[in-house]
């Protein structure tokens, strides 16, 4: 098959087409939808994001100012980012790493910076 020869020679001398993942990771593209993250400084726990979320990955307790986020339900559709009036949710381009358990991340307004992980969301 002479018409495949350029490809064959390119493969022979061009090095491997794949990476040694996980030792060598690909840099994500700019604005790639990797994961979302709560920006606690901007969030006022209004709950607009939880109403828009198509998978109910976000739940907000407006009275006690608690933000519940189930990352393994999130489909990173950016609907919450679009609806948020205060830029309280950020898009990160790197993907979340795999986990053994599906945990709910709980962010309380009174807790300050640290987020607590609790309760399975099976």
């Amino acid at each position: 098959m002479p018409w495949f020869l350029p490809g064959v020679l390119g493969n022979l001398f061009g090095g491997p087409a794949t990476r040694l993942y996980p030792f060598q990771k690909r840099e994500p593209f700019e604005n790639a939808r990797g994961q979302i993250e709560l920006d606690r400084d901007n969030c006022n726990y209004c709950g607009a994001c939880s109403k828009r979320c198509p998978t109910s990955a976000i739940n907000v307790d407006r009275t006690n100012k608690v933000f519940y986020f189930e990352p393994f339900r999130c489909i990173i559709c950016e609907a919450c980012i679009e609806i948020c009036p205060r830029n309280g949710i950020k898009l990160l381009s790197n993907h979340r790493s795999p986990e053994y358990t599906k945990e709910t991340l709980i962010f309380r307004a009174e807790d300050g910076e640290k987020a607590a992980a609790a309760s399975d969301c099976q």
Partner: protein
Amino acid sequence: MSRQTVVPFGPQHPVLPEPIQLKLTLEDERIVGALPAFGYCHRGVEKAGEINEYAQNVFLVERICGICSFIHALCYCQGIEQIMGVEVPSRAKYLRVIWSELHRIHSHLLWIGLLADAFGFESLFMQTWRYREKVMDVLEKTCGSRVIISTCTIGGVRRDISEENLSEILSTLKEVQGHLDQIAHVIEKDYTVRKRCIGVGMLPREQALAFGAVGPTMRGSGIAQDLRMTGYAAYGDLNFEPVVETGCDSYARALVRVRECYQSIDLVRQAIDRMPAGDLAVKVRGNPNGEVVFRVEQPRGELIYYIKGNGTKNLERLRVRTPTYANAATLLTMLPGMTLADVPVIALSIDPCFSCTER
């Protein structure tokens, strides 16, 4: 009369990654009857579409099919826009065409690879999928995701493509076209491909019409029907003709898809060339009240959405008919008379997607 044997092909089979069972009645190696059995991949998407809010359904319908996710979202959004009388900005229409055609290119490249894999031509399979990755990278760069790109929304699109990314799309398509020339040459000239495809899975024009075949399966039987000619999105402003082959066999269907890759590259170039500046989306207020049937051209053929709204934020009915549902019936006429070894090639020649079909 020799003894008949029933051989199940699937639902798990190394050639066909999707779950369909073909109950093949054989006389020695020759097929005398075929009965497809569906239902292994039902996910209740239509019911979920009635439970979710209509705006959230865009993310749901994208997940009906991984290969043409954008075109499902496009069909749903256009249907809702038609009910609500929303006029989409021109730039959004062109962006919809660009992403639709990029999906068509990578879908057809994927299919060419799968066809090569079906008759053991592994090097063609590997090369085709390698070139497909270039298109996937462009999708990821412009949309943020490789497969479920989530850029279509009711009233327009959610992301713009920068000038820099538009020129990168053009340079990538130039590179892909160069590789496609090699692949097209192999499909047209290679002995193995011709031997395994020519005269295999005959679907005469009359049979294609009788069974209601759609898409490349129909166009491979000499029927010039392409829903993009109806001019939805910005297709009405672009110059193209349906790709038609008259061979009526698996080879003709392969040629249609190869030529459609070139056509899609040309359409993306035309769309980039003519795309005006402007808004990406209009604000949509209220709820859909009324019903619509909207049709678009998927890589596999005609996709139909029936949407019925009752003035609330939930739809009363969402019905989807995918092209494989129409094309699967043609297997009943294509398979009898062929040998058992031809089944993978014939089954793949309709480019089946059963995740779509069963939803």
